[in-house]
Symmetry: C2
Subunit: 161 residues, 2 copies
């Protein structure tokens, strides 16, 4: 059992690393290369939106708005653009005809697949010198980190149930 203080330091450093990682993903080089690789011309906002729809879709406009902290009217217009480009598809939810779910089309999937492949090519060399153990541990722990964060925030403030 390490000290409470040591754990606090770990939390602080964890956040620093996360900020660094986010900052890195924002670097233009990354997106530009990925986009060029995929052969699509999308501004960053639409690019991220497409990835989000692929990752979380079928998803509603309102849910995207919450996730990205933007007004739902803004998202509504961006979603319309992606639909015009044929990269995503809208359909009324069968359970609730108010919501118009968004999901990637075959064309949209081709784009995100190309992005995935490009990202794979760019990230593989980073882990070239990592041991299997470290790589798999990072995979396990980061997944758990994300899961725990999300489940905590989904809970009401009194988390006794």
């Amino acid at each position: 059992m390490v000290s409470k203080h040591r754990r606090q330091v770990a939390l602080r450093r964890l956040h620093e690393s996360l900020v660094d990682l986010i900052s890195f993903t924002n670097l233009p080089r990354g997106d530009e290369e990925l986009i060029a690789e995929a052969g699509v011309v999308l501004d960053q906002a639409l690019f991220r939106l497409l990835v989000g729809v692929e990752r979380f879709g079928p998803i509603s406009v309102g849910e995207i708005a919450e996730r990205t902290d933007r007004d739902h009217t803004t998202v509504s217009r961006q979603v319309a653009k992606l639909a015009e480009l044929g990269l995503i598809e809208r359909r009324s939810s069968p359970l609730d005809k108010r919501v118009k779910e968004a999901m990637v089309t075959a064309a949209g999937r081709r784009v995100t697949d190309a992005l995935d492949a490009a990202r794979m090519r760019l990230s593989t060399p980073v882990f070239e010198h990592w041991s299997d153990r470290d790589l798999l541990e990072l995979e396990r722990l980061m997944r758990r980190f994300a899961d725990d964060l999300l489940s905590m925030s989904a809970m009401p403030k009194e988390t006794d149930t």
Copy 2:
């Protein structure tokens, strides 16, 4: 030694986790709470800029622009706003009088400290049930991940030197 394919799967899942974490940090609840907690009224853009200047400063306008993938004129105006609010300070770089470095002031530091404290309060319960080993391993591996990414991208394409 696990298979090449297993490692590829790990890379893919790693990216998914990272996207989830970024998505979480974008959730409005987080920033709003943090900002309210710190007793400051800043829109998200300025809030992130301040954190960035604290983390990477002293830093030039151009460097921030690259990091955030925004036009340098946009950043120039945002930086001016933060300076007006007294949260950051500008000074000509002694080495290159063209650049006007930005760095947090004492007042700005108070804000980011408050943000850090608030974040600590919010993130501590997430790791309450984590073992020391897992927490420290996550800290170590995420830091290495960020460091390796940055050092790779800093290198020229022929990385033999």
